[in-house]
Symmetry: C2
Subunit: 317 residues, 2 copies
């Protein structure tokens, strides 16, 4: 079989395995969660029936009442008495929302209510998401030296071979990140948030720093929390630094994989010559005449992948 056929087979295999992985997840989630959900549903029905029996409210008017309560709740407005003191859109909370938007975490604990708010969210994220990536990249560039380059060098000086040194360094960095950005924050959250267990804190940290952001646990949402704005700012800083460390970890892993040949092992064999050229040094020192020549040459030839003027055959200015 030729390499093109092989690469398509590999891709198909990957996609099939991806679907199997999703199905497997679905089966496990369904098995674990369905009984708990059914119990909660039965409890809810019983609670409603009991409430109706004890009061002189008609089922229809209760239903009508609940529809409106739940709709308002969807937009972050709770019908509960003690929660109506603080707004979801004071300055600190709005900034927290803006932050979850641009980092793509998006808890959705509060969501824009008005159409203007929705349009602004789109425009704000359109600029904000790439901007956040830029700031994160710039910060990671700065901490690469003290946290990656220098320690690897130190390990090598202490007698380790270059390759094992990078593995030991990556494992140390991993332990540091897990400790400082998952376990310690989890302990803090479980202490500060009354209803959170340690597992809840850990689950929140993980779901946040992977930018999944389910929003079932969001810090600073309890009524009458002391220093709430300050706490929200602290969580924002935690999220930003945490994302930075996740990015650093990913980059370090990528560099380590490169060294150990893991990247080329995981990468699919490429079937287009022009795609292969991406890995090569781009032709940056040739003058623009060469680029034009390339184009003319390509134009005169039939469609054959090797002769395509790819992005990289065009010289930079």
């Amino acid at each position: 079989m030729n390499s093109v056929g092989k690469s398509w087979l590999l891709l198909t295999g990957l996609i099939v395995f991806y679907i199997i992985y999703l199905l497997f997840g679905a089966l496990v989630f369904s098995t674990i969660e369905r009984p708990v959900e059914e119990q909660l549903r039965r409890d809810m029905d019983a609670l409603k029936q009991e409430f109706l029996n004890q009061s002189c409210v008609s089922a229809a008017s209760l239903e009508n009442f609940l529809v409106r309560v739940l709709t308002a709740n969807k937009y972050g407005v709770s019908a509960l008495r003690n929660s109506s003191v603080t707004s979801n859109w004071d300055l600190a909370s709005s900034m927290f929302f803006a932050n979850t938007l641009v980092t793509t975490v998006g808890y959705g604990h509060t969501t824009p209510l008005s159409d203007t708010g929705k349009v602004f969210s789109i425009v704000y994220a359109l600029i904000g998401v790439p901007f956040t990536m830029l700031v994160l990249t710039a910060c990671v560039q700065r901490i690469m030296y003290p946290l990656v380059i220098a320690p690897v060098c130190l390990l090598q000086r202490s007698g380790l071979e270059p390759r094992p040194a990078t593995v030991v360094h990556f494992l140390l960095l991993l332990v540091l990140v897990v400790l400082c950005f998952f376990l310690m924050p989890a302990a803090v959250f479980s202490a500060v948030e009354v209803s959170w267990s340690f597992l809840d804190g850990l689950y929140f940290s993980f779901i946040s720093l992977c930018t999944i952001g389910l929003g079932d646990f969001v810090p600073g949402m309890q009524p009458r929390q002391k220093y709430r704005p300050l706490y929200q700012v602290a969580v924002m800083v935690y999220l930003f630094v945490g994302l930075m460390m996740m990015y650093l970890l990913l980059r370090t892993f990528h560099k380590m994989s490169d060294l150990h040949g893991l990247t080329s092992f995981l990468q699919l064999p490429r079937c287009e010559d022009s795609d292969m050229e991406e890995e090569r040094e781009p032709i940056v020192h040739e003058d623009s005449r060469t680029a034009n020549n390339m184009t003319e040459k390509a134009a005169s030839k039939p469609l054959d992948p090797g002769s395509q003027p790819s992005y990289n055959t065009i010289n930079k200015g």
Copy 2:
């Protein structure tokens, strides 16, 4: 001022501007949303008061009832009569949840209720998120030729200069993506989902394909929707292909910026020599003796950035 000082100044400027951007967002969101929220809150209070007046329920027992209703609602269990038919954890819904987890969209419309579910979510995402990235990358590699390389080549043959050709191609691709993955789906969603406007559909598409996933709009959540599992699978396919196209667009933009020198303009000046080496061709053809020599040399020298054996001075196997 030397280049190190300049680069730190630039980074500080970026971070300050980032904070200003967040503050600006916070101010706008607060201005837009707060009046709407206050109105909703007043309506809610009036509704509750009216409900209490018309019935013989005590305020305390209603409060108690609502606490439990809203807690169950947080976990995706609605107290409403017509919504209690379908489960959030049937196979299709569970797969939809698994999909939002591994793509880091994370709507959070349903969240794991049990501790086992939370632990499984963490483990599942830990493997699934990088796996999804791998599959997406592999797919994007495949569509690079027909959607990027070939059209650019075609544009060049039709007489365009290489650089304008890439810009025209990027704009065409952008229009195609906006049309096929934002505007058209928005029209479909606003037709299929009863309560969604066109803007809601567009807002959903954008929030989803940026992986923000606020979860205030999730397709297939209405009671008694026909062919619900099929619809959910269709949405999953849309999300996957959409993310693929977003990734393609990002990569094409990056390549175009490279060509136009925008990348080096946006990138911070680097202050470490070892970081500079990342851009150079890594030393792959030297034997391991050279790498060892490098290490020994580095060990004998004082800590000077130029002499650090970076990741790239270590040869690949």
